[in-house]
């Protein structure tokens, strides 16, 4: 069975609308700003109309049901319903556009921005493209020593980080709700498992203010940890993050 052209066009527009909503709310974890949605949907409607009315025949097929609605006496009831609904809808849409919105503006941000090539901390300069965790090698070479290092990293975490990133490293610390953006959830496979240890070193050492603009450095509550922790403590706490969550850092080889 072939669907009527008009219905096809409506379905396409609705499907695209839902897709936009889903991609933003599920994929990007952010609601789509309404101005952006309106603009996208305008293009979608225009494109659909262009395609469906490309030939004279298809244009007729499109407008047929609409014409029938007005001209065919047997469709009287539907017509009356449509003729009441359409003005109400138009009125409502105008109203919701005019009504002043007191909802806060949506702030879009990049969660894992590209790191710079190098960074300065602890009185030296680091080449982030080559930087590796100096303690990582003990995982294979000396498992006992590695365990002790992880434990020291854990102590750093529970003296400094659990307030926000959570006692369970799930981003739900006691004070997490008091910050916007919310602290990162390390249990989520979309966070540290996707990153190299050098990236974490950069993010931890330079904190919120060290972020590039697209990641809204002015909002992030992440402290500048090079002011509070030593270089070794940062590397150890990184070991702890991966160990506790059972994840592995992305390595240069896999890159």
């Amino acid at each position: 069975m072939k669907l009527p052209k008009l219905l096809q066009a409506v379905l396409v527009v609705v499907a695209v609308y839902i897709a936009f909503k889903l991609v933003f709310s599920v994929g990007l974890q952010q609601p789509i700003p309404s101005s952006l949605l309106t603009m996208y949907m305008f293009f979608v409607v225009v494109a659909t109309l262009l395609v469906t009315t490309a030939t004279e025949e298809s244009a007729k097929e499109m407008s047929g049901p609409i014409k029938a609605l007005v001209e065919d006496p047997s469709k009287k009831t539907i017509r009356n319903i449509v003729f009441v609904l359409v003005p109400l809808l138009a009125g409502w849409m105008t109203y919701s556009n005019l009504r002043p919105s007191f909802e806060a503006p949506v702030e879009l941000r990049t969660i894992h921005p590209a790191p710079p090539g190098s960074m300065k901390a602890f009185g030296k300069s680091y080449d982030l493209a080559k930087l590796e965790n100096p303690f990582r090698k003990y995982q294979k070479e000396d498992p006992e020593k590695f365990k002790a290092l992880v434990k020291e990293g854990g102590a750093v975490y529970y003296k400094n980080c659990h307030y926000c990133h959570g006692d369970k490293l799930d981003g739900q610390g006691q004070y997490a709700q008091g910050f916007n953006p919310l602290p990162l959830n390390f249990q989520d496979i979309g966070t540290i498992a996707q990153l190299q240890e050098s990236f974490l070193f950069w993010r931890i050492a330079t904190g919120g203010p060290g972020l590039p603009k697209e990641a809204t450095p002015w909002l992030s509550a992440m402290p500048v940890w090079k002011d509070f922790l030593t270089e070794d403590e940062i590397w150890k706490v990184i070991l702890f993050l991966y160990d506790y969550t059972g994840q592995a850092p992305r390595s240069w080889a896999a890159h």
Binding site: V70, E71, F83, V86, P87, L88, A90, G91, W92, T94, Y95, L98, R99, P100, F102, E103, A104, P105, E107, L108, G154, A155, Y157, Y158, K159, H162, Y163, C164, G166, D167, K168, D170, Q172, G173, Q174, Y175, Q177, G178, F179, N180, G208, P209, K213, T216, P217, W218, L219, A221, P223, V224, D227, F228, Y244
Partner: protein, 506 residues
Amino acid sequence: MKMRTKLVSMLSIAVFAAPLTSYSAQGNAENGKKIYDKRCVWCHGEEGAGDGPAAERVNPAPRDFTSGMYKIKTTPFDEVSPKDEDIFRMISDGMPDSSMPPWKDMLSEQERWDLVAYLKKFAGLENPKKELDFSKQVKTSAESIERGKKLFLDRCAECHGETGKGVSIKKLKDDLGFRTWPRNFTKPWTFRASNDPKDIFARMSVGIPGTQMPSFADPSSKKKLSDEERWDVANYVVSLADSTKEVRAENTVVKASRIEGELPSEPGDPKWMEAEPSTFLLVPQIIGQERFFTPSNNSITSRAYYNDKDISILIEWDDRTASAPGDPKAAEIAEGEVSADAVAVQFPVTIPLEMEKPYFGHGDAAWPINIWYWNTGEAGASQVTKLLNATGFAKKDERDAAKAGLVTKGVYDKGTWRVVMKRPLVTGEKDKDIQFVEGRFTPIAFAAWDGTNGEKGSKHTMTTWYWILLKPKVGMSVYFIPLIVAGLVVGAELLWLASARKKKSS
């Protein structure tokens, strides 16, 4: 043979279905230890003594399991051991407003029972011999609440305050010497267990072991309450919950309504109660400079109004102690030296047009911020108003508040500070002061200091950036224009119909 296996399996089902007196019988302490060593040592310590690395930087302190004392239990006051279900519940649900998280989303039920079995070993806890008798619950009613209120004022107010906000008239410490703050009953989200009447009944009957919260079921106590009386008090405590102090994640805007004529400038002005409240979580300053880990205040509420000349902002927060340096009463209940209670709001000097705004830790070189600051002042002296400009944590300049027209006034009443800050919408120094604009989302952040809790300088509680909006007055056109549009559409429809008819008849 077949028959026998069937019988055996039926029997074993019967055994498992029978009520178990001790659930930790289900738990495997050895496995519990493994989980404990990975997840709990950080706070509760290797040997369960509550001395993990986190311990010195959290208040309340992690439980010391070697003491055998559990705060939230449903066995009578003279029975040391909690029920296994009590321990299981706290592990599963966590303890709100403390660093103890809920574990039920990470650990399986079996794993949590394993932990119970292991925790009990630290103090060699026996199974309890008695259970708490809940008697017959008195359903809540206006009469029950009224009866409860009278008893409350007599028995509970000395610690929890006349209004149930936990106003301190004495310095309370737990058995380990840590400061404890009596619960604030207007904020049910801060209860370690819950504010269900059954929970409150249990806490009153048992007390909170290890703290000064006593049992009111102990017959040797002069303050003993009967079962019915405890239910009445529980119903009263539930009735104290204040929904305006609830922190809601979607609530990020202080909405200032426009009014004609004078703005309220007294904190007690009844007009404030008509303004929409917005409540935000206060978190300790753990970001820069000298950090602060043991706050006593946990939320702040703001309301605002404006007219054609000025803006007036009311800031309210519960603080269990009114502290002014030099006040002997404050010194008695203070932790160390008394500092002044204080509050501040911060704005960008220039309202951002795009997303970029000042760094929320007092701005930066590109984006200076304004700070409006109030403190209670020395005992007997007048309150302090300050206007500051900052470009970072440690880069603050004091300016002339009077010249900018900033006035503040604070009043402390039964556990709540109310401070009004008022300033003209625009000032003479456009490059130094924020100039308010109707309808523009403007960043705002708050900070508060509890002077009896050692809060001073960079040691305080704070919020991240939220918004304040001067709500534009909604004109009638919002309603008229949609009507006109609907009318036009109807007109078009009728025209179409008429032309279709004409076509047909012709």
